[in-house]
């Protein structure tokens, strides 16, 4: 049978009205998924204060060497820092000088590869004083596994010369 118009089918109209009536009485559903709440705040967002040159230099040293600078060491580092206008550049030179010092406490590649998640967590704690987010952990883990150039020294260098390391 072919219907000439919508009004030719009173049963259909009644069915639609019934559906509308039912939908009006339907209470709002609350869907509950089996996923934990996740804090989506950007990591390190509460770090608003920039480290002074003294703080930056002495913290970088103690984070790498596990000990504090002597006054003479600190003085020569501050002089170097103040003698060049590009602070990112001089900080980079100072950090690379630290890394070239055999006394720097940098894990070996074998130690890193033995426990990559542990290494990443330790690195975040050492330099950023916080836990890595799940995404940070996954990304760096993936990078270490798939990029043979990734060594603890390179990762430490990147952390020490990153923006977040300049803040507290």
């Amino acid at each position: 049978m072919v219907m000439n118009s919508f009004y030719d089918c009173p049963q259909l109209i009644g069915f639609i009205l019934l559906l509308m009536l039912m939908s009006c009485n339907e209470p709002d559903k609350i869907y509950q998924y089996e996923v934990d709440n996740v804090d989506v705040t950007q990591p390190g967002i509460d770090k608003d204060n920039i480290k002074s040159e003294l703080e930056f230099i002495s913290l970088a040293y103690s984070d790498l060497f596990g000990t504090t600078l002597t006054n003479d060491q600190l003085l020569s580092l501050v002089v170097a820092y103040n003698s060049l206008g590009d602070k990112g550049l001089i900080a980079d030179i100072i950090v690379r000088n630290f890394l070239n010092n055999p006394g720097a406490d940098v894990p070996s590649v074998q130690e890193m590869e033995a426990d990559i998640p542990g290494f990443i967590k330790d690195t975040y704690q050492r330099f950023y004083v916080r836990e890595p987010s799940e995404y940070e952990l996954w990304y760096l883990q993936d990078l270490i596994v798939n990029d043979e150039d990734m060594t603890p020294e390179i990762l430490y260098y990147a952390f020490l010369t990153s923006d977040e390391y300049r803040f507290f």
Binding site: Q42, P43, G44, I45, K47, D48, I50, Q73, S76, L77, V79, A80, N82, S83, L84, G85, D86, K87, G88, L89, I90, D92, I93, I94, R96, N97, L99, N100, S133, Y135, E136, Y139, L140, L143, D147, D149, M150, T151, E153, I154, L155, Y157, A158, F159, T161, S162, D163, E164, R166, F167
Partner: protein, 434 residues
């Protein structure tokens, strides 16, 4: 058919490229057409407080024979310096403003330097720990010069630390560190004391540098602030920073090898900080051929306690300036295309203080009397641009002020018309130009 389509697209792209206006960092669509008069300017602050009585008036004989004509001083206590590289004094190669004036504000060293690089007189409220209130010549250059240049073309080379590093950019809201010059205090950076701090940096291979960048980029993208935007000074692009790092390393290595033990041909026992600062300024010139370089000397300030050593350091700075000019003339790209402006930041008092040196001469301070505002200015350069062997100004008719140097540099490099009106009260020193 494909070729025809390619040609059509290429033509459209080319047409749009030529038709599209260029947006300059200044916010202007096109650069103004002010033409350059020269491609390099070296601004030499013969600073530390130089009194006209000992410089242009030669009351102690000619203590500055490389700059001025006149019989060399025979004062006691003068070290024997090498002869100037030039047969004639520099004043013959340009225009001497014999009675220049530092008209207003305190005659303090940092005030004087600030006036020199900003073209604005300062008041007594100058904070030594802050960058200047008004833009520096470096910022005017890096913001308004067309085509835009990087900070590799703008250098501030300071003789000492203290407040001086802060003069490479201002805290003016329309300028600031993104238009700042590369600053270096070379005698502090390239020194045995600092060597343990920076002398042996870890060298990464190219592929390792790439790995570092990959990690650092990731870390920086996950953080909401940029260190370079919160008062950490200027920030060179990666390639420029690498070049500067290599340059510094090269200087350190050469210093260790003993290459700088006879700076500018001066025996080490006679070399002072001004000599070494000039040596490193010359290295910057040879490596970067900057369009704008400012260097200062301050050793004459020993005059607060030792007048004879002040005279001695005047002649050392004099030799250093001539050597600097000689290096410029030996540097391809800068020779015959550079103007050098030499000016003290302020003078010294007429009356001495009570401190006598070993020759019984009294020391002199600078506390703002009329004499401490009397200085000279020398502008030297190619004879097709600069009036040669010309002297301007008399004590009764002084010509030129400290605040005139910045507008003069801006005009020489051709960006004066782009500087917003009201920022620079000084004028172009037209008397020096052909």
């Amino acid at each position: 058919m494909k070729r025809r389509s390619f040609l059509k697209k290429s033509s459209l792209l080319a047409a749009s490229t030529f038709a599209a206006p260029y947006l300059l960092p200044t916010g202007r669509l096109f650069a103004r057409t002010a033409s350059r008069r020269v491609n390099h300017v070296v601004f030499c602050l013969y600073a530390g407080g130089v009194r006209n009585m000992e410089s242009v008036h030669q009351n102690e004989g000619n203590l500055m024979p490389a700059l001025f004509a006149g019989a060399k001083s025979s004062n006691p206590g003068l070290d024997s310096m090498p002869a100037s590289p030039f047969m004639q004094p520099l004043e013959k190669m340009g225009t001497l403003f014999k009675e220049f004036r530092y008209k207003e504000g305190p005659t303090g060293h940092f005030n004087g330097h600030t006036v020199a690089v900003t073209g604005r007189y300062t008041d007594t409220g100058l904070n030594l720990k802050q960058n200047p209130e008004y833009p520096t010549i470096f910022e005017y250059y890096l913001k308004h010069n067309s085509p835009s240049q990087t900070a590799q073309n703008a250098w501030w080379i300071s003789n000492s630390l203290g407040p001086y590093p802060a003069l490479n950019y201002s805290r003016h809201p329309s300028y600031g560190p993104m238009f700042g010059a590369n600053h270096i205090t070379p005698t502090m950076l390239i020194s045995p004391d600092v060597y343990p701090a920076i002398g042996k940096p870890k060298q990464f291979q190219f592929h390792e540098e790439e790995a570092v960048s990959k990690v650092r980029d990731f870390l920086n993208k996950n953080f909401d602030k940029q260190a370079g935007q919160v008062g950490l000074g200027i920030n060179n692009e990666a390639a420029d920073a690498k070049r500067i790092a290599d340059f510094i390393q090269n200087l350190i290595d050469r210093g260790l090898s003993g290459e700088f033990l006879n700076p500018l041909g001066v025996p080490l026992t006679l070399a002072n900080n001004d000599i070494f600062t000039t040596l490193f300024a010359e290295e910057v010139i040879k490596e970067f051929k900057p369009e704008l370089l400012t260097v200062n000397m301050t050793d004459v300030d020993v005059c607060h306690q030792d007048f004879s050593e002040y005279c001695n350091n005047l002649q050392k700075a004099d030799y250093a300036v001539a050597h600097l000019w000689d290096t410029i003339q030996q540097t391809p790209g800068m020779a015959n295309d550079t103007v050098m402006i030499i000016v003290p930041e302020h003078g010294r008092n007429l009356q001495p203080n009570s401190i006598r040196d070993i020759y019984g001469r009294f020391a002199v301070d600078h506390t703002g009397d009329a004499t401490s505002r009397e200085i000279f200015c020398m502008v030297i350069g190619p004879d097709n641009l600069i009036q040669q062997d010309k002297v301007v100004g008399t004590p009764s008719n002084p010509v030129g002020e400290s605040i005139d140097v910045v507008p003069t540099i801006a005009t020489l490099l051709g960006f004066d018309a782009d500087i917003p009106s009201g920022l620079l009260p000084g004028r172009f020193l037209h008397e020096a130009f052909v």
